[in-house]
């Protein structure tokens, strides 16, 4: 009863970081259109196991669009052409019988391929470690309502904090720039009064780490915003640029 389609996959296969990778052609037949994209890969992998071959490796976990693990570039677009979804939320009904689907890993020098479609995104963790937090010790907090926060600011902070750290912004950028990610993480805290004390340190630290990781530079094409599953705004990038300038000036003035 379920409708099925046959598609041809052009999948990136790479044994490990040290090996060279290449595109391989794999047939995916009788795929139910109601299956998710990752379930399609599950079905293909079942077939590969039955044939005695190694499976296609890809990152995934929650499969409901929130953990940020899944990370496929599908037909040239991070998370596929559907707007505001992660790969796991993309369904096969978006494809037609006979389609050829190109599946590649999120590519960036800062995201080395671990195997097939899996990449190492720990660079993003290191950016957070460089200042993406409020330095408060457990137990030292005052009453939560002692600090009213303007609703607009709280909403802006929340909108930035919706980032799931999937790295699609990096993957979509022709320069592999991480500005949308970094700016969203910085804006989340820089918008809030709790984040003011360390704002300068945070901004300078996170940008320096971002640069050190080998991400490219933003050239304002906004591909990142277009593919972001959480529709994070490039406003955050403008804010980070502004905050970086003011933080640098402040740092300069203080050191004189």
């Amino acid at each position: 009863m379920a409708e099925t389609i046959n598609v041809t996959l052009k999948v990136w296969k790479q044994e490990s970081t040290e090996h060279k990778g290449q595109i391989e052609t794999i047939k995916a037949d009788n795929i139910p259109t109601s299956a998710s994209f990752l379930e399609m890969l599950d079905i293909v992998n079942e077939t590969l196991i039955a044939e005695g071959k190694d499976v296609i490796h890809f990152d995934h976990d929650c499969r409901e669009g929130i953990c940020g693990a899944c990370s496929l570039n599908i037909n040239g677009v991070a998370h596929g052409i559907e707007q505001a979804v992660t790969t796991c939320q993309l369904h096969m009904r978006s494809f037609s019988n006979g389609d050829t689907i190109w599946i590649e890993p999120f590519r960036a020098k800062a995201f080395p391929v671990l195997k097939d479609l899996m990449v190492d995104r720990s660079a993003m963790d290191r950016v957070i470690q460089a200042g993406g937090f409020v330095d408060i010790r457990t137990g030292s907090a005052v009453d939560a309502n002692s600090l009213p926060i303007e609703k607009e600011l709280a909403d802006a902070a929340f909108a930035a904090a919706a980032c799931i750290g999937c790295g699609a912004c990096v993957a979509a950028c022709k320069n592999a720039s991480a500005m949308l990610f970094v700016s969203a993480k910085a804006a989340h805290l820089n918008n809030l009064p709790q984040g003011q004390a360390e704002k300068k340190k945070r901004v300078l630290g996170m940008v320096a780490q971002m640069d050190a990781e080998g991400f490219g530079n933003c050239s304002n094409q906004y591909e990142c915003e277009a593919v972001c599953p959480k529709e994070i705004s490039v406003d955050n990038i403008a804010k980070l640029n502004r905050d970086y300038l003011s933080s640098s000036i402040k740092e300069g003035v203080q050191t004189i």
């Binding site: 379920a2 139910p32 259109t33 109601s34 299956a35 998710s36 990752l38 379930e39 599950d42 079905i43 992998n45 079942e46 196991i49 039955a50 499976v55 976990d61 929650c62 499969r63 409901e64 929130i66 953990c67 940020g68 693990a69 979804v85 369904h91 009904r93 671990l114 195997k115 190492d120 995104r121 720990s122 993003m124 963790d125 470690q129 993406g132 937090f133 409020v134 408060i136 010790r137 457990t138 137990g139 030292s140 907090a141 005052v142 009453d143 939560a144 309502n145 009213p148 926060i149 303007e150 609703k151 709280a154 902070a157 904090a161 919706a162 799931i164 750290g165 989340h188 805290l189 709790q194």
Partner: protein, 659 residues
Amino acid sequence: MMSSYKADSTVPHHQAPEGPLSDKWSKYKASAKLINPANKRKYKVIVVGSGLAGASASATLAELGYQVDCFCYQDSARRAHSIAAQGGINAAKNYQNDGDNVHRLFYDTIKGGDFRSREANVYRLAEISTQIIDQCVAQGVPFAREYGGLLANRSFGGAQVSRTFYAAGQTGQQLLIGAYQALSKEISKGGVTMHPRTEMLDIVKVDGHAKGIISRNLVTGEITRHAADTVILATGGYGNVFFLSTNAMGCNVTAALKAYKKGAYMANPCYTQIHPTCIPVSGDYQSKLTLMSESLRNDGRIWVPKKAEDCGKPAVEIAEEDRDYYLERKYPSFGNLCPRDIASRAAKEVCDEGRGVGASGLGVYLDFADSIARLGEDAIRARYGNLFQMYAKITGEDPYKSPMRIYPAVHYTMGGLWVDYNLMSNVPGLHVLGEANFSDHGANRLGASALMQGLADGYFVIPVTLGNYLADQKPGAVTTEHPEFAKAATENRERIEKILSIQGTRSVDSIHRELGLLMWDNCGMERTKEGLEEALAKIPEIRKSFWEDVRIPGHAGELNKELEKALRVADFIEFADVMCHDALNREESCGGHFRAEHQFTQADPEVQAGTTQEGEAKRRDDDFGYVAAWGYQGEGVQPSLNKEALVFEEVKPSIRSYQ
């Protein structure tokens, strides 16, 4: 009926201090053993898991000065499955001035848990709840706010006050990012060494104490020994024993099961929470179930066709008189808003009768046509727009035009490793936090309580109670040179080689699906003695099939997802066994454990008096008012049953009624 299970010689003791409930935690803190700050840095702590409990514990313990090693199987600590929690987090702040207080939150949680949790732990949880909100706000967690700039609250099931703090529909993500950022801060300061993409394979016990773990680097396949002065497990629940659940694909029971096999008690594993409003399974390829907010039941009417032959027709073509609004029919006073477990079981019942809808026949309609006609499409869009959108994305159907299809799904597991008031298991030095332990939710968890418990354990309980254990330990006494480490590493290496050498015909997933289906049918929403005995008879067959016929491509010394899955599934199979034993032993119905033999009927005086309804769970406090702590006795051997009697000093167990 007398249980045929034997008890061990030692009976676990909860270690909660004496005295009035409200004083226990202060009393404990006042007398807890302390470690001098200069000495703290000599102690090494292993934390397995980086969800709310693991990340908050790692960060806080590092702040205190301990050397922490934190492990997670995900590529980043931020991806732990706490991230998926939608609803909110409870706290007895009483910001709404609606009469909330610590005692009320405590009582609601105990009652919600169907009087199967330990009073002292739950009271402490309620007490700590307020500090959690303060801590999270200070970290910059963007909770929803009112126009005045103060924190907003909403009400949640099982409570008559508004005490739930939330951040749109992604409270879990925001809280986890808060904890992850605290963790990141400590990583940058050198207090925590993070081990992502690393899976714990085993616990190492030295002289009876948990003193380390064996891990596998998921990228290189390297097996590594890690020694520490204590081990903390914060590894989440076991919902994936059913294969299909709302859990993430990687969620597993391995750490808890390994602890169980090393002597830790597994407590109440039969308590599983099943959520009535999930998007149903659409085919046998399905990998995961997605939860939709229960609030949909406020405006949707639930029905199935009266005649099985109508099930294939489009919903709109089924005439009104041919529809069976079974909840409204069976429970006229509550109708579509009857409690979760009843709604879930009723759906299963009609589907078992062959009247389920959708391709798989496992689904019921949730119809908004009446509400749309009454209130207009815009009003419904305003209330549920994002949920309708999510539904449309997943199913490709427009819920404004045709009814949604829903079906219950496993969502949370209340059972877990047994812990005392210190959150330490009966294995000294082995602490267990969050969903992985059994402690605070009894037989059923209230909405918005899971996040509260994870953070309470990590931020506020373990930093105090850990000292109690460590104060008596000489720091660094055990190193990886101890023969127990070599032994455990070898055992695990051999196990991996054995799995890889089978090269049979079946994929790991196919075996996992078989196990999941068996558990869902026999140890799911409704359990019977016969069903559980059948499951217990079949589990060894599945185990045999796994160990003789599984096929894993690739080898051990590389990134090998199939191998990872296989190691987890092998553990789920063993876990399923103790879970069924627990369900079989518990000859009563309570919370997330429903035994068909034990439900209220018309003949019961409580039903006649209107205290409860027909079909509601029937508890048997006199015979089962205890925590069932199971001890491992060997593969294929019946586990031992150790009972911790639940003593209620403050509350009086009553029929859980929400009428």
